[in-house]
C-alpha cells in the first residue's frame, strides 16, 4: 500500500503533499485542544504498535518474496482503530502521519510520496473508517460489526484511491490496479477488521476509564450524513472510470480538464524542469525553486500553527 519514491511524478506528489499538509495542520489543532496529557502514552503506544505490527509484516515479506505482492504488501493500517479510540478522525490523520514518517525511514514508503500515502491511509481511511463506524452505530448495529465494517472499508477504499493515483502517475493501468489492489486489500481488510475489533475490545475492557463508550451517540447526524455524501460523490466520480472499457480514453478527457485545473498551474514550473532561456542551468534553477516552494509551504504551515499555540 505504501507508494515508494519515484513512482509518482513530482508535480503530482506535490499536490498530494499540499492536501496532506492542510489535513495535518488541522489534526495538530485537534491534538492541541482534545488530546489531554494522560492520553499521550496511549497515542504513542498505538502508533508504535502499528509500526511494529507492520515490521513483522516486513519480515514476512522477506520470507515470501513474491515480487508482485511486495509493492502492495499487506499492512495493518490502524486508522479506524485510532479514530474510534480517540473519537476523532483527526487522530487517525495524525497517528498515521507519524507511523508513515518512521516507516519511510526504514524505506517503506517514500518521502515525496508520503503526501499520497497520508492521503490514502490516514485521511481517506481515517474518515471512512470512523464515519462508517459512527453511522452504523447510530443505526444500532452491534458494535463489533460496526467496527469491523468501518475497518474493512478503510482498507478497500484507499486501495481504489491508490489505483487512481498510480494510474494518474502512469505507472499502473487503472482497471487491473483497482482489481488487484482492491481484491488484495479486501482480503487483508478482514484481518484488519478482526484486529481492530479485538484491540478495541481489549482496551475498553482493561481500561474503561480511557475510552468513551457512548461516543458515537454524541456525533451529530448531520456530520455523518455529510461524510456519507462526500464518500458517495467520490465513488460516483470514480465509478465511470472503473466500469468503462477504455478508462485511458476517459482519462484523456479527464486530463484535458485537469490540465486546465492543476497542471496548468504547476507544469510550467516543474514539468519541463526548465526556465526558458537559461538552458541546462535553468533546469537546475527550476528544481531549486520548486524545492524551495515546498519548504516555504512547510514554513508557512509551521508559522500559522505557532501563532495559534501562544
Amino acid at each position: 500500500m505504501h507508494i515508494p519514491d519515484g513512482y509518482i511524478p513530482l508535480e503530482q506528489a506535490a499536490v498530494y503533499w499540499i492536501i496532506a499538509i492542510l489535513f495535518i495542520a488541522r489534526s495538530i489543532k485537534w491534538a492541541r485542544k482534545d488530546l489531554n496529557e494522560n492520553m499521550i502514552p496511549l497515542f504513542g503506544v498505538l502508533a508504535a504498535g502499528m509500526f511494529v505490527l507492520q515490521t513483522i509484516n516486513i519480515a514476512a515479506n522477506l520470507l515470501i518474496p513474491v515480487p508482485m505482492l511486495t509493492g502492495v504488501s499487506w499492512h495493518v493500517v490502524g486508522a479506524t482503530l485510532a479514530a474510534i479510540i480517540f473519537a476523532s478522525p483527526w487522530a487517525a490523520v495524525l497517528l498515521i502521519t507519524l507511523v508513515l514518517a518512521v516507516q519511510s525511514l526504514f524505506g517503506d514508503g517514500g518521502i515525496t510520496a508520503m503526501g499520497a500515502n497520508i492521503l490514502n491511509m490516514g485521511i481517506i481511511a481515517g474518515f471512512i473508517g470512523y464515519y462508517s463506524y459512527i453511522g452504523l452505530s447510530k443505526l444500532s448495529i452491534k458494535r463489533p460489526i460496526a467496527i469491523f465494517t468501518g475497518a474493512w472499508l478503510s482498507m478497500i477504499l484507499p486501495a481504489i484511491a491508490l489505483a487512481f493515483e498510480l494510474w494518474f502517475a502512469g505507472t499502473f493501468p487503472l482497471k487491473q490496479g483497482a482489481l488487484l489492489m482492491g481484491t488484495f486489500q479486501g482480503v487483508a481488510g478482514i484481518g484488519e477488521g478482526l484486529i481492530t475489533v479485538i484491540v478495541f475490545g481489549a482496551i475498553i475492557k482493561a481500561r474503561p476509564d480511557i475510552v468513551e463508550e457512548d461516543a458515537p451517540q454524541k456525533v451529530s447526524t448531520i456530520k455523518v450524513a455529510a461524510a456519507g455524501i462526500v464518500a458517495l460523490f467520490g465513488l460516483a466520480i470514480a465509478a465511470p472510470f472503473l466500469t468503462s472499457s477504455n478508462p485511458d480514453g476517459l482519462g484523456q478527457t479527464a486530463n484535458v480538464v485537469l490540465k486546465h485545473e492543476i497542471n496548468s498551474a504547476i507544469t510550467p514550473l516543474f514539468s519541463s524542469y526548465s526556465i526558458p532561456g537559461m538552458g541546462e542551468m535553468g533546469k537546475v534553477a527550476a528544481i531549486v525553486i520548486g524545492f524551495a516552494a515546498i519548504i516555504a509551504v512547510w514554513f508557512v504551515a509551521a508559522k500559522i500553527l505557532k501563532k495559534g499555540s501562544t
Binding site: A31, P41, F43, A47, G107, D108, I111, F172, A202
Partner: protein, 269 residues
C-alpha cells in the same frame, strides 16, 4: 530476520565525519537528493547516468560514515522489496504517456514485453534506489532524538515533535512486550498447529495475544511515562530546543551535495 529496533538505533551513535554533520543539513541534503531524483524526466536513458552518479556519491558518504557492510546489507534487504514489485511490472504494461512500443518478446497468453516499458521500469527502480540510499544514509547517521530536534529547528510543530518522540520511545516498549509474550507462550508449549487443542481455543489465544500486546504495552508505556514525569520531565521542557551553530564542514558538505546535483544535471546531457 532479526533487525531489532535497538540495533538500528545503535548504528546512529557511531562517530564519523558524517555523523557529526548538523542534523538540519543532513535532512535538507537528503530532501534535495530525493526531490532531484524524483524530478528527473520519466523516460530518458540519460537519467540512469545521473542517478548512477548520485548513487556513487551516496555510497562514498556511507563509507565515510563507517557503516558496517552487514548492517547496510540488512537495511537494503528490508527496503528494496517495497519498490521491486511495481517496477518489475512495467515491461508488461502499456504506459499511457508512451506513444510507440517496441515489442521484445511475446509471452503466452498474449502478454507482451516492451523495450520502453522495461526502460521505464529500470528508471523508476533506479530513482527508488537512490531515494532509499539517501534515506538509509540519513537514518543511519542521526539518532531519532536528534532527528526530531533538528526537524524542530526546521519548523516542525512542537506537538508533532512531542508525539513523534513518544512514539519512538514506545517502539522499544512494544517490541519488548512482543518478545516477552512470545517467550511466555513458547515456554508453555504453545504451538499454532498443535492438534491436542481445539482450533477455537488456539484462535482465542491469538486474539488474547494481540490484545494483551496492546494493553500491556500501553500500561507499561503509561508507567514509563509516569516515571519520566517523576524525573522532572514535562512536555514543555522537552520541546525546548537550544540553538545550534552551523559549522564550516556543514556548509561544505551541503554545497558539495548541491554541486554534485548541479553537475549531474549540467554535465550529463
Amino acid at each position: 530476520m532479526h533487525m531489532s529496533i535497538t540495533e538500528f538505533e545503535r548504528e546512529t551513535y557511531r562517530k564519523s565525519p558524517i555523523h557529526r554533520i548538523d542534523g538540519r543539513i543532513k535532512i535538507l541534503m537528503t530532501l534535495a537528493i530525493i526531490v532531484y531524483a524524483v524530478a528527473l524526466p520519466r523516460m530518458d536513458s540519460l537519467d540512469l547516468i545521473k542517478l548512477g552518479l548520485l548513487e556513487i556519491y551516496l555510497i562514498i558518504l556511507m563509507m565515510f560514515a563507517r557503516l558496517e557492510f552487514s548492517y547496510l546489507a540488512m537495511r537494503f534487504a528490508i527496503a528494496l522489496p517495497f519498490g521491486l514489485g511495481i517496477a518489475a511490472f512495467q515491461p508488461f504494461v502499456r504506459q499511457p504517456f508512451i506513444q510507440d512500443f517496441t515489442i521484445l518478446y511475446t509471452l503466452p497468453l498474449g502478454i507482451e514485453v516492451s523495450r520502453e516499458g522495461a526502460l521505464f521500469g529500470v528508471i523508476i527502480f533506479a530513482k527508488f534506489l537512490v531515494c532509499i540510499s539517501a534515506v538509509i544514509l540519513l537514518s543511519s547517521t542521526i539518532p531519532m532524538s536528534e532527528l526530531v530536534s533538528s526537524a524542530r529547528r526546521l519548523g516542525l510543530p512542537k506537538e508533532l515533535a512531542l508525539l513523534f518522540t513518544m512514539m519512538v520511545r514506545y517502539l522499544f516498549v512494544f517490541w519488548n512486550m512482543l518478545g516477552r509474550i512470545r517467550t511466555a507462550q513458547k515456554t508453555r508449549c504453545f504451538e499454532i498447529w498443535n492438534k491436542n487443542v481445539p482450533r477455537k481455543w488456539t484462535l482465542e489465544q491469538i486474539g488474547y495475544t494481540i490484545s494483551s500486546l496492546f494493553v500491556r504495552s500501553y500500561e507499561q508505556g503509561e508507567r514509563t511515562y509516569q516515571s519520566m514525569l517523576c524525573r522532572g520531565y514535562n512536555a514543555d521542557a522537552h520541546v525546548y530546543v537550544g540553538r545550534k551553530k552551523i559549522t564550516a564542514p556543514d556548509i561544505f558538505i551541503f554545497t558539495l551535495t548541491i554541486a554534485i546535483i548541479a553537475a549531474a544535471q549540467v554535465r550529463v546531457v
